[in-house]
Symmetry: C2
Subunit: 213 residues, 2 copies
DNA sequence: ATTATCTATAGATCTATAGATAATGC
DNA sequence: ATTATCTATAGATCTATAGATAATGC
C-alpha cells in the first residue's frame, strides 16, 4: 500500500531540484551522532545512512572521518560560547550586570547546537582538552578584570577574596550546570530547573558581593 | 643482545609462581584504556595486549566486552565518592566544618583511581547518566540539610538564600574543579592549582556565610 | 569537462568461539 | 577433572578507494 515518499536515488548527479546542502547535512548529522555515541562509536556508514546517501559520498566532501569531526568542532568549539561574555556593558550597576550576564550566558548555552556540543564534549574527553579548560580559564580571568575595577571603585566588597576567586565563585556554578544539565539529551523540565538554579545563584552572588544599589 | 625479560607464555596453564590476579589486571587495564580512549575506542585486543596475554583470555573471565566495562563501573562508579560526605562531623564549628569538608572531598577525588574514573566519565557521556547527575543532586541535598540546621540555630546567615542554594554555591565549584582538572591526564601542577582554587573557594564561602566563630 | 552520486570491493580490524595444551589440586 | 592459558579462525563490521553513471554548466 504505502510507498515510501523518499525517492530512491540512483547513480549519477541528482537533478537540481533534489540537490541540497549535502556537506552541511553531513556535518549536522555527524555532530548529532558524535554527540550521541562518541567519535569511535559513530561509523561513516551510520552518518551516510542517516543523511540517506551512500557511504562513499562522504569521501567526496571530506578527506577522512577525522576531517568531518574537525569540521564539527569548528562549528561548536568553545570559541562560540566565549563571544557571549563580551556582549555585556561593564558600566551598568554591578548587581544588574551580574544578573544580565547570567541571563546572556544561559541563552547562549541553551540552544540546540550548544547542547549537542556539550554532549560531544562529554563523550570524547574534550572537557580536558586545552580548548575547553583554557576557554573556561579565560572567561574567569575576563570576568575577574571587571570585578577588579568594581572593587577599586568601591562597588564590590573587597573583604571576601580576590577578584579571581570571586569570578570563580560566580562562573563555575554556571559552567557546572551547563556541563551537567544543558546537554543534547536533557528534558525541557531538567533544563528549566538548571536555568532556575543558575539564576538563583547569580542573584545570591549579586546580593552578597556588590555594594549599594 | 638484550633479550626481553618477560617470559613468553606458551599454551597451557601457567605455573603457580607466574600466576597472578589476571581478572583484576584485566579490569585495571580496561579502566585505564577506557579512560584514555573511551569504550568504543578500546578493543579487547588492546586490553589483552596491555596485560600481556592473548585476547581470548578475556572471554575466560568475562562474558563480553560489555561485562568488563560493567565491572570497571562497579569499581569507580559515583557511589565511591559519596561516602566521603558522610565522614564529617556536623556538630563542629560551621566554618571549620566547611574547610574540613572541602579537604576530605579533595582527598577522595584526587586519587589515581578517582581521576581515571573522571576520565572515563567524561569520555563516555556518563556525566549525563542518572548515576552521576543524581549523585551530585543527592550530595547537594545532603549538604543542604546540614546548612538548614545551622540556619535554624543562627550559626549561618539566613538572608542570602535557601539552604539548598547555599549548598549549590559551595559544592558545585568543587565538583566543577573535579570534572575539569582532577582527571587521569592532569599534571601534578594543574591538580595542585585546582586544589588550591577549591580551598580558597571553601574559605571564601565559609567566611561569607557563617556567623561568629 | 565537472560535479555528485552510485555499486562493488579491498584490506584492516573487531568481537567472539572452537579446540588444543599444560599445570593444578583432588 | 578443572583451570588458565594458547592458536587459529569465523563472521561481522569498518575505513577508504576504484571506477561507473548521469545531471550540470560552460
Amino acid at each position: 500500500m504505502a510507498v515510501s515518499t523518499t525517492r530512491r536515488r540512483g547513480p549519477g548527479r541528482p537533478p537540481k531540484a533534489e540537490a541540497g546542502d549535502t556537506k552541511g547535512a553531513l556535518v549536522g548529522v555527524a555532530l548529532k551522532l558524535f554527540a550521541l555515541h562518541g567519535y569511535a562509536g559513530t561509523s561513516i556508514r551510520a552518518i551516510a545512512r542517516e543523511v540517506g546517501l551512500s557511504e562513499s559520498v562522504l569521501y567526496a566532501h571530506f578527506d577522512s572521518k577525522r576531517a568531518i569531526y574537525d569540521e564539527t568542532m569548528k562549528l561548536v568549539g568553545p570559541q562560540v560560547a566565549v563571544t557571549a561574555l563580551d556582549a555585556a556593558d561593564p558600566s551598568a550597576d554591578p548587581a544588574d550586570f551580574i544578573r544580565m550576564f547570567a541571563d546572556r550566558v544561559l541563552a547562549a548555552w541553551d540552544t540546540p547546537q550548544a547542547r549537542q556540543a556539550i554532549s560531544l564534549i562529554t563523550r570524547d574527553g574534550l572537557v580536558h582538552e586545552t580548548a575547553h579548560t583554557e576557554g573556561t580559564e579565560r572567561a574567569i580571568r575576563h570576568l575577574a578584570e571587571v570585578f577588579a575595577r568594581w572593587i577599586e571603585e568601591g562597588r564590590m566588597r573587597d573583604d571576601l577574596g580576590s577578584a579571581e576567586d570571586l569570578a570563580y565563585a560566580l562562573l563555575s556554578p554556571i559552567a557546572h550546570a551547563r556541563l551537567l544539565w544543558l546537554h543534547g539529551g536533557a528534558t525541557e523540565e531538567r533544563r528549566r530547573a538548571a536555568r532556575d538554579r543558575v539564576i538563583r545563584h547569580a542573584d545570591l552572588f549579586a546580593r552578597t558581593v556588590t555594594v549599594g544599589a
